[in-house]
């Protein structure tokens, strides 16, 4: 099992949807961090994502682009992604964000959009 701590390994202040919004955006998180780790996982391996260590809150734009984008751009199906990731938190306030992440992934349509980087 691999572990990824958003607050420590990415940014304690994740904001925005696209790279054009800054280097802490959902697109940056997905393309430069989440996608490479998911791709590197062995078939029976899972990724534990810690969402509350050092992070105060999230916006929907970051979460939907960061997580559901993997499905929307055809990198992985919703079922496969949900079977590979485990959302972890110790603060109960983050249960809300866990539910939202799972809902975004479930509702995303696989390969429904072609990915075009917003910033080269």
């Amino acid at each position: 099992m691999k572990t990824f701590n958003i607050g420590k390994d990415f940014s304690p202040d994740p904001i925005g949807r696209y790279r054009t919004d800054g280097d802490r955006s959902g697109e940056t998180f997905r393309e430069d961090y989440l996608k490479p780790i998911i791709t590197s996982l062995k078939s029976d391996e899972t990724l534990e994502i810690i969402i509350d260590d050092g992070v105060e809150s999230y916006g929907s734009s970051f979460l939907s682009e960061g997580f559901a984008g993997l499905v929307k751009y055809g990198y992985i199906t919703s079922e496969d992604l949900l079977s590979k990731i485990i959302i972890k938190y110790t603060n109960d306030d983050f249960e809300f964000f866990e539910k939202k992440i799972i809902a975004y992934i479930k509702n995303a349509k696989f390969n429904s959009k072609l990915y075009e980087p917003t910033k080269s």
Partner: protein, 206 residues
């Protein structure tokens, strides 16, 4: 009961007398006869004493119950009164806390509504970063308040949870935190309508 005992004793005595009448014919059984007669008399006396004691105890027992009946009634009344008061007090406190938590929640929703409407009715400006921080922290607080609400009415809790999921998507979705963000009047109206609707429902519970 006393008559029965007397009858029994006299019948037994007459039988003994009959036996000793026969023995007398043979000579010196008089002394044994006397002893047995004395025992029979003593037994009769004892029977009288037991009957007297029984009747006394029955009378005394009745009067004890009569004497303590008011005390027992008052004690039961006090205990029932205590539990009834306690139950009423707990129920009132619970209702008061529930009402306060709905009121706090309603105020928080109004704050979120004001901040978000202001945010989405203007294009991106220098004030944005501050409002984004307030909006995100208040939405986190909203989910906490909803989680901590203790109410028997499951429908309002479920309605609040749906509201928090919807309002999170509307307020912090699309170009939220984007440097290219443009004002969206329709989004602002949608936020305001949803907040007003849920506040109206909350008021009926507060």
């Amino acid at each position: 009961m006393m008559d029965d005992n007397t009858e029994l004793a006299s019948s037994f005595s007459s039988k003994i007398d009959g036996v000793f009448y026969f023995l007398k014919a043979n000579g010196d059984c008089q002394s044994i006869h006397d002893v047995i007669n004395e025992n029979i008399l003593a037994n009769q006396g004892l029977n009288h004493s037991i009957d007297l004691l029984n009747s006394t105890l029955t009378t005394q027992s009745d009067s004890l119950v009569k004497q303590f009946l008011p005390v027992i009634s008052v004690t039961i009344g006090v205990v029932l009164g205590f539990f009834s008061n306690r139950f009423h007090w707990e129920y009132t406190e619970k209702k008061k806390k529930e009402s306060e938590s709905f009121e706090k929640l309603s105020n928080l929703i109004s704050d979120i509504e004001s901040l978000s409407v202001e945010y989405w009715t203007k294009d991106r400006d220098d004030e944005n970063a501050k409002n984004e921080v307030y909006i995100k922290s208040k939405i986190r607080l909203l989910s906490k308040y909803i989680r901590n609400i203790k109410t028997k009415d499951k429908s309002i809790k479920s309605e609040l949870e749906h509201f928090s999921f919807d309002i999170f998507d509307i307020i912090t979705g699309d170009d939220f935190e984007s440097s290219q963000r443009k004002a969206s009047k329709s989004k602002a109206i949608s936020i305001s309508r949803k907040c007003s609707d849920i506040n109206a429902n909350l008021l009926t519970h507060a």
